[in-house]
């Protein structure tokens, strides 16, 4: 193994970080939903791919620029998330057995994956625009334009969620519910309301992530599950319940994958990513960024 030149290393890091931000934004959605409902929403990846297909449909049929379609995707995601919670999870959220919610999420995943296959076929799809191939050159390092935009979307989305949680009263209620649902309920916070809000924001983030994914990667209806798994890894790295940490966890995962791919081999990326995940769960289950006094 020879050490690469600093340029290659920097290039590798940038590609990894930009790609990892996609996992990060998926993880932020998972983190919110997990926070209030204690549910691993396995369908998040499928939702992101669904959003990517919608972005493609808007672009191909109506000529709407993929990045412009954010204005449509985010509100649609908010409404869809609210409806999904009210229609599917409201009843299950009241049950003590959390397998039920998990299985509904699995059912949603099957359903969405196969609806996409029926509507758009099982082949790999991509969105190709006039700027897909263009890049930004800085200090001898090249970053793809669409990946950079995806990174910005992830960053902006996470920042908005963090601001919402910190600065608004509703956000405070969501945070309180994530920490202790019973206590929050006793303080007059409606569990269904915070759950629905978490779901709405989570799916809205999936809509935003769909824009980023559609413009950057080729995708197919079944790509979502791997995405969900990677988002889970990012979530654990960042610390479950830590929203900004989830984005950072995604970026770290992207970096790990880029380095493993370059230095070892593409075949081992998943094993090493999950190995890191297991190690974090075992030795630092509260995540990489937690401070000692904070409850995980």
């Amino acid at each position: 193994m020879t050490l690469p030149s600093p340029e290659i290393f920097l290039q590798l890091s940038i590609n990894g970080a930009l790609g990892g931000a996609m996992y990060g934004v998926a993880a932020v959605g998972l983190s919110l939903i997990f926070g209030t409902m204690r549910l691993i929403f396995l369908a998040q990846g499928a939702m992101i791919i669904l959003a990517a297909y919608l972005v493609r449909a808007l672009f191909q049929n109506l000529g709407i620029d993929p990045f412009l379609s954010l204005i449509i995707m985010v509100p649609v995601g908010l409404v869809a998330g609210w409806l999904i919670y009210q229609g599917l999870f409201r009843k299950a959220a009241a049950e003590e057995d959390r397998n039920i919610s998990l299985l509904i999420a699995v059912g949603v995943m099957f359903l969405v994956q196969n609806l996409m296959t029926v509507i758009w076929g099982g082949n790999t799809a991509a969105v190709v625009t006039s700027y897909t191939a263009s890049g930004i050159e800085l200090l001898g390092v090249r970053a793809s334009f669409t990946r950079s935009m995806g990174f910005l979307i992830a960053l902006a989305g996470t920042a908005l969620v963090v601001l919402f949680l910190r600065k608004t009263l509703v956000g405070k209620a969501v945070r309180a519910a994530s920490e202790d649902m019973t206590a929050a309920t006793l303080m007059g916070i409606s569990p269904h309301k915070v759950n629905a809000i978490a779901f709405a924001i989570g799916i809205a983030l999936a809509g935003a992530a769909g824009v980023a994914v559609a413009t950057t990667f080729p995708f197919n209806p079944f790509a979502g599950f791997i995405f969900s798994l990677k988002a889970l890894v990012a979530l654990a790295l960042g610390g479950i319940g830590n929203v900004a940490g989830a984005l950072a966890g995604g970026i770290i995962l992207g970096l790990i994958e880029a380095y493993v791919q370059f230095f070892i081999s593409g075949g081992w990326t998943n094993a090493i990513a999950y190995g890191v995940f297991l190690a974090v769960l075992m030795f630092k289950p509260e995540g990489l960024f937690s401070r000692p006094y904070k409850k995980a």
């Binding site: 997990f34 204690r38 691993i40 599917l88 009843k91 299950a92 049950e95 057995d97 397998n99 039920i100 998990l102 299985l103 509904i104 699995v106 059912g107 949603v108 995943m109 099957f110 359903l111 969405v112 994956q113 196969n114 609806l115 296959t117 029926v118 599950f225 798994l229 889970l232 890894v233 654990a236 479950i240 075949g267 081992w268 998943n270 094993a271 999950y274 190995g275 995940f277 297991l278 769960l281 075992m282 289950p285």
Partner: protein
Amino acid sequence: MTAMANISWKWAAALLTVILALVPFWPGALDSYLFSFLFFVFIYAVMAQGWNLVAGFGGQISLGSHAFFGLGAYTTAILWSGNYLWGSLYETFPRIYYFDPVTMVLSGLVAALAAALIGLPLLSKLRGDYFALGTLGFGEILKVIFVNGGDFTGGAFGLVTPSSTFETLMPHYYVGLGLTVGTAVAIGWLMRSRYGLALIAVRDDEMAASANGINTLKVKVAAFAGSAFIAGIAGSLYSFYIFHVGPDSVFNLDWMLLPLMMTVVGGTGTVLGPILGAFIMYAVFDIARIFVPDYHPIISGLTIILAMLFLPKGLVRKILPMSLARN
């Protein structure tokens, strides 16, 4: 009344077992669709029962059953294709590995050993969702290891065992039926024993169980390893059916998700639930696959959602008297 009901249900189950055991004697049954359908129901029922042991009775949600299923299937395929077990006897008896009980038990033991090794650190450190995520990660790692295992595991293609040994589905059917009944009886008996009580105590209140002198870690790891043993044997049985053990087929997440779903639909923490769930859910999936092939996964997805919305406690608790369903 419940004692009477208990006895009559046992008789009904025994009668059903006898009827199922006689199915192969029906003329033409061996070539019928129903026969292979029942074989798959048995495999899924065994997998569901295994998951039920650790998750239903033990309360530890594992998302790694597919890892142990795959490990069992691979152990059988490796032992057979590499002839690591019987040496020169293999030449004299070319069918020695086919449904060889030693190979099958070893496959279960390898899976159980792996579960104990991974379960000890995971269960001593992690609780609830973290344990679930950890087992999911373990399954994915194992898959990559087998893909990269070179000639020993056959890489991304996997291993092929001599399919010329196949004659009929008869042995598959009987072993499947035997395992289904055997695991159900064994777990039913186990849950009445001291160990079963300890396991349920740990599930219901770990702190209280520990205060009463139960070594909670030991109890949980034993349940996890036992569940892996069952999954490993199911994997071994499947490898005698498929004759090609590849990473994408035996480490497929369906081997974890479907049994989990069947158990929950049938009734978690009941002995009959996983079997009933396997039968009903597999029938729904298969009927959908035959009649609406393009849409069948949509129907499967819908069925799960509807079952969870309207039958969250499982079918068994709906149709059987409460005292019975609990066991």
